[in-house]
């Protein structure tokens, strides 16, 4: 840890000194099954999140998460072979409440055959002005190791840091809002080691060839997000979200979302529409004019200019009400099913599965369905 990081952590802890009276999160356990299915990729697995208080000022949280990946995506189909992979992630955290101040620390470890990541996070929240305002400062430090499954000697480091500040504000008795600003810096190996760029090559029978992509070694991004949720004149809520994003790779993004939440008896239904629009990275190209045409080059479709659309439907049923009667250890229980329909339209990423003259291939579009089923218990 550098002196600058230590100073920042010390500042966070010092800010936590003033204290009055806050609230720790509920004791709760969630068991979730997730399935992503689209674009030739299937990813599923469990996520288990358990939170438990210890005394009046401590709360512990643990999460175990697995991605089981079976990929024959367009990148894989056009430049490599389909593969299966498993990523396991676990995290442990602690909240310490002192008066109106909550301090949090969290450690996360993620592991797969060719990528390991460790992240440690700190944050401090302070409730102010009669608990109408909550100010949160956060910092996280990530240490990743990138390797290749086909080259045991290949290892590259990637360091990540995140600085965030958030403000949650009760505006009226029906309206709550949040404002978040986050800066993330990356330094190290940012390529995907398996991906390639395409360049025009008259000597090739298809008119183009591939070479490894080469990214800059640094990236700094800024994101500013705002959300507001309003309690309607009848018992239902509406939420609006907006996020502005930019980074040193010249990606600029706008994301907007609108949600409607409607309870009925023991059920709660949510509908949400989300739209994201971004420009491409300055070193991105679908087709470079020749080999090593630029200092940096990439053809990851996520760095292409694109628009994504998501329509979410979510329903939950509270099968155990919080009416004072317990079932075994639990005072409340809920089951939730959620489906997201995701469509991504790429403005500069060709579908090379279609045979066409070089540069005239149709643009690629991705459709995916994302399912979540989870049980939640309060105790």
């Amino acid at each position: 840890m550098t002196l600058r990081q230590l100073s920042f952590t010390a500042l966070l802890l010092a800010l936590a000194g003033n204290a009055f009276a806050g609230v720790l999160p509920d004791d709760r356990a969630d068991v979730l099954y997730h399935l992503y299915d689209g674009g030739g990729v299937e990813i599923d697995g469990p996520s288990i999140l358990v939170r438990k208080k210890a005394g009046k000022s401590l709360s512990f949280v643990g999460n175990y998460y697995v991605d089981m990946i079976s990929s024959a995506s367009i990148d894989v189909v056009t430049t490599a072979s389909p593969y299966t992979e498993e990523r396991t992630q676990w995290s442990l955290g602690m909240d310490y409440l002192r008066g109106n101040t909550t301090m949090r620390i969290n450690y996360t470890s993620s592991s797969e055959s060719d990528y390991d990541a460790e992240t440690i996070s700190f944050s401090v929240s302070q409730d102010m002005f009669g608990d109408l305002t909550t100010l949160t400062l956060g910092y996280s430090l990530g240490d990743d190791l990138v390797s290749r499954s086909d080259d045991p000697l290949f290892e590259r480091d990637l360091d990540k840091q995140s600085y965030s500040i958030g403000l949650t504000q009760i505006l009226t008795k029906n309206l709550i809002s949040t404002l978040n600003f986050e800066t993330i810096t990356d330094e190290g190996y940012l390529n995907n080691p398996y991906r390639s760029v395409r360049y025009a090559d008259g000597t090739s029978s298809v008119g183009y060839s591939y070479e490894p992509e080469l990214y800059p070694n640094t990236r700094t991004s800024n994101a500013l997000g705002v959300r507001a949720r309003y309690f309607l004149p009848y018992r239902a809520a509406i939420e609006g979200e907006y996020r502005y994003f930019d980074d040193t790779w010249d990606i600029k993004g706008h994301t907007v979302a609108l949600s409607y939440i409607h309870p009925w008896r023991d059920y709660t239904f949510t509908g949400k529409f989300r739209y994201h629009d971004q420009t491409g990275a300055h070193f991105y190209s679908d087709l470079f004019p020749f080999s090593e045409a630029t200092n940096f080059r990439g053809r990851d479709k996520e760095l292409s200019p694109l628009q994504s659309y998501t329509f979410k439907l979510k329903g939950s049923y509270e099968f155990l009400n919080d009416d004072g009667n317990k079932w075994w250890l639990f005072k409340k229980g809920k089951v939730t099913l959620s489906v997201d329909f995701l469509q991504v339209d790429y403005d500069d990423f060709s579908d090379l599965r279609v045979v066409a003259p070089v540069g005239e291939e149709p643009l690629y579009s991705l459709d995916a369905n994302i399912y979540q089923l989870f049980f939640s218990f309060w105790y």
């Binding site: 969630d30 990813i43 709550i176 995907n192 991004s221 309690f231 990606i251 491409g280």
Partner: protein
């Protein structure tokens, strides 16, 4: 022009009032304008901004893998999970 001047004058008055209000508020504690007994609707579970953390973290991870933008919405998990 008269309208513009009038509007400019009223803007100045509003700004002056805001500055006075901010100055006064700096002299004493800010009174909560939504009292604790008026927060029953805000305490309703349908008003929870992050009601299901396990689900929010998962869907943020999906978007970070599929789009070039990141951050500004709270923390998501590490690792790659690409392709």
């Amino acid at each position: 022009m008269i309208n513009l001047l009038t509007e400019y004058g009223s803007t100045k008055r509003i700004l002056l009032a805001l500055l006075i209000a901010m100055g006064l508020s700096a002299c004493g504690p800010i009174e909560p304008w939504v009292k604790p007994y008026e927060r029953d609707k805000l305490a309703d579970p349908i008003m929870a901004l992050d009601g299901d953390a396990v689900s929010t973290a998962y869907i943020q991870h999906v978007y970070e893998a599929r789009e070039g933008a990141r951050g500004g919405e709270g923390a998501a998990g590490g690792g790659c999970g690409c392709n």
